[in-house]
Amino acid sequence: MSETAVLSIDRVSKHFGGIVAVKDMTFEVQAGEVLGLMGPNGAGKTTLLNIIAGTYSPSSGRVHFCGRDITGLPAHKLCHLGIARTYQIPQPFTSLSARQNILVATEYGGKKAAGMEHDKIFDLVNLSEQKDMPARDLATVSLKRLELARALASNPTLILLDEIAAGSTDAELPRILGIIEEIHKMGKTVVLVEHVMKVMVEAVDRIIVIDKGEKIAEGTPGEVMKDEKVIAAYFG
């Protein structure tokens, strides 16, 4: 693997019983890069995120993070090493306020250097006015932002975003793009799974397209969109 790689996936496969969710996947993510994972439903994108984040152990293959073999480490250790993820369906701690949700992430996930101040995080995700509300009273859009805020609060090196734009209106997209841009500017490495094409095309440096658990194309957004295999996977 190259020296600047933050994340390196080396021939990773994941089976669930007889079903192959991810097959022989290999790729690297460089420091400061924004990488997009794209593919039809059931292609294995979320499974891949779960493997990187330590929710699943791969059936075979290795995962390296900042030069260290992290294959099979539990999620809480990966969090301390600097990997954060958001969930497609927001998973707040409902009885805690937005601020307390973030506190949990800072207190337990925070590693060595202190991360951003909470107020700055809330400003970034546009949640400042709702920070003392219990999470159960927040609207879905706000919960999506809380997911992001919580992931940032643990001061990660690598942040995995699972469909943060899904369910957003077109009017909200510039805001989301702006947030990804800000995260990028902080020098964080981002892997994002997204169906919303506008986000994919405008936010990422490089796209990897997955179909049936296998990588079928890789390149800049412009290159990937012209790829015949990609067109075939999406439009049959």
Partner: protein, 291 residues
């Protein structure tokens, strides 16, 4: 009408005050279930162990049961931490069923240990204030029941404050609501489990003293309290501290009012709360305060 109300007052007061004892006992069970989805069937026995601890300290050193808690609470806390760390957390690697069986094992060990050390005879914490009563207007209040209530309120508020305001408490709340996400946020579930069990045992130490002052006990008197705790938790709703508190009061009230209206029937007194539990389960399965 006035006679009716005057007659009703004693069972009302006794039910509410006695409810405090049920609250302390149920809190430990509720906390462990809330965090690790494990029904700690040994919980009632651990409460009785708490009663025996206070009884032994009183016998050996002549120390008041409440004062013995200064040593009892930390001791039970540490014991709980290690029981979880070295026994239950290991069984979780096999399955939740294995952990349940381990709890059965702990229950049997604790019962027999108490029997071996302290014989099967009935004991109670015979302090000189145990049977004190005092009058409030026309009513007579028994001090031990008042202590139950104060204890229940104090322990509930302490646990609630701990869960809301402390670093560790937030981790326990987070893990009990959504464990995979809590782990993703850097919380080590096994550590949270150990602390949760430790707190449950500390509650059991307090519950043991209150129980020993209120009723007599023998090595096997833990099981009824386990059943009562289930009732309290179902009535109040799982995961709500305030709910558990109200659940305890409602349970106590149903017992004393059941006895009052049936002319002191022990059968009605013991069955009435469970009839209510049955009704609550069918109309509001999440409990009075559950979400």
């Amino acid at each position: 009408m006035e006679d009716f109300l005057v007659g009703l007052a004693p069972p009302l007061i006794k039910g509410i005050l006695l409810g405090g004892l049920y609250v302390v006992i149920a809190l430990g069970l509720s906390l462990v279930f809330g965090v690790m989805k494990l029904i700690n069937v040994a919980h009632g026995d651990l409460v009785i162990l708490g009663s025996y601890f206070a009884w032994a300290v009183m016998g050996w050193l002549g120390i008041d049961p409440f004062l013995s808690l200064v040593a009892g609470v930390p001791l039970f806390f540490v014991l709980g931490f290690f029981v979880q760390k070295f026994i239950i957390n290991r069984t979780f690697r096999i399955s939740l069923d294995a952990a349940l069986i381990a709890c059965f094992g702990i229950s049997i060990i604790v019962q027999n240990l108490c029997q071996a050390i302290w014989t099967p005879f009935n004991r109670s914490l015979l302090t000189d204030y145990r049977l004190l009563t005092f009058a409030v207007g026309p009513l007579t209040i028994q001090l031990r029941y008042l202590l139950d209530f104060i204890g229940g309120l104090a322990v509930m508020l302490a646990v609630r404050g701990f869960l809301r305001r402390t670093y560790l408490g937030r981790a326990i709340s987070a893990a009990s609501q959504n464990e995979p996400v809590a782990e993703r946020m850097g919380i080590n579930p096994n550590r949270v489990y150990s602390f949760a069990f430790a707190i449950a045992m500390a509650c059991a130490a307090v519950a043991g003293v209150l129980q020993g002052l209120t009723f007599s006990f023998s090595p096997t008197s833990g099981s009824p309290f386990l059943i009562i705790s289930f009732g309290v938790i179902i009535l109040g709703g799982l995961g709500s501290m305030a709910g558990t508190f109200i659940g305890g009061m409602v349970f106590g009230l149903t017992q004393t009012l059941g006895a009052y209206f049936s002319g002191g029937s022990l059968l009605v007194q013991s069955i009435a709360p469970y009839l209510l539990v049955f009704v609550i389960l069918s109309v509001r399965p999440q409990g009075i305060f559950g979400r």
